[in-house]
Amino acid sequence: MRRLLVALAAGALVVTASACGSSGDSGASDSGSSSGGTTTVKLGLIPIVDVAPVYLGQKKGFYGKRGLKLEISTASGGAAIVPGVASGQFQFGFSNVTSLLIAQSSGVPVKAVSNGIASTGVAGKDFAAIAVKRGSSIKSAKDLEGKKVAINTLKNINESAVRESVRKDGGDPDKVKFVELAFDQMPAALDGGQVDAACAVEPALATIKSQGGQVIASPMVDVAQGTTVAMYFTSTRYQQQNADVVKKFQEATAESLAYADAHPDEARQVITTYTKIPASVLAQVTLPKWPAEPNKESIEALAKLGEEDGFFKKTPDVDALLP
C-alpha cells in the first residue's frame, strides 16, 4: 500500500515538476511573505525522535530571534513531505538522504539546507539496528542470506544499509528476502516469527530490546563513519527566491542541532511533547547524533550504494543537493 502511494506520489511529482503550475507559485509566495519582520515558514516533519532539535530550538527561541516563525505540519511518512515541499505547501521538510537522492535523480527540484540526524557511529549502540528474536540462530549479518528481513520501505535508505551490512560481513545481499513493514509493527512481527530479522529504529528498537531481542548489526555504522541519515531540505525555487529566509533557517537549525546534541536530557524531554512514547520506553531509547553539518563522504557513500542497488534513474548529483 505504502509503496503504491510512493509510486503515485513520484508520478504526480514528475508531472508537476515539469509543468510547475501557478498553485505552487502562489503557495510559496503566500507563506513566504513576512509581516512585521517575522516570516512564517511551514515545516513538514514526521513526529519521531529524530526531529527533537527543531522542537527544542523552537522552544529555546533560536528561530524566533532570527525572525522566523515555524509552523510545524506533521505528516505520517516521508512520502507526503517531499511532494509537499516540491509543490510549495511546505517551505522546508525533513527526509532521509536516499529519498532526497532519489528525488534529485528523478528531476524533482530539492535542495538540502541543513543537517538532520547522523548515526552515533558506535556499532551495537546506534538508533538503528538489525535485530533478531531472543534465541535466534542468526548471529551476524551474513546469516541473513535466505532469511526474511523487515525494512520500512523497499528500495530506500534502510535497504541500502542492510545490504551493505550483509556485504561487509561477507554475505550476498541479493539472497536476503526483504519484506516491507512499518517500524511500529516490527516488534510484533519479529516476536510472532513472521520475519526472521528487522531493521528497526527507535522507539521500536527499544521495544524489541526490552523483549530480549538481540542486535546483530548496525547498518548505518556499516555505511560510513558518522553517516548522515536524514536532512532538512527545501525546493530549489524557494531557495533561489528566498535566499535570506533559507539562510536564517539554516543558522537556526544548526544552533538547534548543536544544542540538542549537547543537552540530550532536554531533547528527551521535548520528545514527550509531540509523541506518545511511554516514559519507560523513552528512557531506553538511543538518541541519534545531531551534528550541525552533514557528512559529505557518507552521503556520497549512500549515493554509491543506491546506484549499485539500482534505486536511481540516473546518477544523483550530490554537490547540487547539498547546501
Binding site: S23, A75, G77, T275, K276
Partner: protein, 257 residues
C-alpha cells in the same frame, strides 16, 4: 421492542469487551500488542482528560461534517439536475461509472500536492468518497418516479419546479436518505484515513503518532473512539432518516385497509 434491541446490543458489546479482557490475560495473544480491555479503558480515560484529544476530535468532526455537507448538497443538486435534463444523463453516465470506482485513498498524493497536510486535503478525500453515494442514490430515486403521477402533474399544469418539489422529491427522498446515511459513514472513514496517512490534524494523526511511539494501549483507545464515533453517526443518521421520512410507508408501516 426498541428497548429489547438496545439491551441485546449492550449485551453483545459487553461480551465483546469481556472477551477482549480475557484473551490477552490467558496469553492467547500477547498483552504488549493486544492489551486487555481494562488497560485500553484506562488509556481511554487518560485521553478524555487530555485537552489536545478534544482538539483532535474537533478537527476530525469538522472535516467529517464539512465534507459530508459539501458532498450531500453537491450530490443532490447534480443528481436532480442530471436526471431532469435527459441529455445530461446520457452525457454523464459513462463518466460517472468511470470516476465512481476510483478509491479516494488513491487521491492522497494529489491532495498533498494541492493542499499539503491540512484540512483541505482531508476534505478532498471525504467529498470525493461520499459524493458518489449521494449522487447515485439520487439518480436511482429520481428514476423511481411513477410516470402516471408525473403525467398527472403535467396535465394539472404543474411547472418544472413544482413537479420537482411535489412529485420527484418525495419519491427520491427515501433513496437520498439512504445515500446520506451511507455517505456519513464513508465520510468518517475517509476523514480518519486521510489524517492517518497524510498527517492532517485529527484523530487519525493522533493514532499515527501513538503507533510510531509504540504506545499500544493509547492506539487502541483512539481506535475505540473512532468506533464509537461511527456508532453515534449511524444512530444520528438513522434518527434523521426516520424523522424526514415519517410520512413514508417504510417508516410509517402499512395501514390496514
Amino acid at each position: 421492542m426498541r428497548l429489547q434491541n438496545a439491551a441485546l446490543g449492550a449485551a453483545g458489546l459487553a461480551a465483546f469487551l469481556a472477551l477482549g479482557e480475557v484473551v490477552p490475560r490467558l496469553g492467547l495473544v500477547k498483552e504488549e500488542y493486544f492489551p486487555p480491555t481494562s488497560r485500553i479503558a484506562s488509556a481511554f480515560a487518560d485521553e478524555l482528560s487530555d485537552g489536545s484529544f478534544w482538539t483532535a476530535l474537533g478537527d476530525t468532526l469538522t472535516g467529517w461534517a464539512l465534507g459530508l455537507a459539501i458532498a450531500v448538497s453537491a450530490g443532490i443538486v447534480i443528481g436532480v439536475a442530471v436526471s431532469v435534463v435527459p441529455y445530461l444523463r446520457e452525457a454523464t453516465a459513462s463518466t460517472i461509472e468511470f470516476l465512481r470506482p476510483i478509491p479516494s485513498v488513491a487521491l492522497i498524493p494529489l491532495a498533498v500536492l494541492l493542499y499539503g497536510s491540512e484540512l483541505r486535503s482531508v476534505l478532498l478525500l471525504v467529498v470525493y468518497a461520499s459524493f458518489w453515494q449521494v449522487l447515485i442514490q439520487t439518480l436511482y430515486g429520481v428514476q423511481d418516479v411513477d410516470p402516471v403521477a408525473d403525467e398527472t402533474a403535467r396535465s394539472y399544469g404543474l411547472g418544472t419546479w413544482a413537479r420537482i418539489r411535489h412529485v420527484l422529491w418525495p419519491t427520491a427522498l427515501p433513496y437520498v436518505m439512504t445515500g446520506v446515511r451511507l455517505a456519513a459513514a464513508v465520510a468518517l472513514i475517509l476523514a480518519i484515513t486521510g489524517e492517518l496517512v497524510i498527517g492532517a490534524p485529527g484523530l487519525g494523526a493522533r493514532i499515527a503518532v501513538a503507533q510510531n511511539s509504540q504506545a499500544v494501549p493509547e492506539m487502541y483507545a483512539l481506535i475505540v473512539v473512532t468506533g464509537l464515533l461511527g456508532l453515534l453517526i449511524n444512530v444520528g443518521a438513522r434518527t434523521v432518516e426516520r424523522r424526514a421520512l415519517a410520512w413514508h410507508q417504510s417508516v410509517r408501516g402499512e395501514v390496514a385497509v
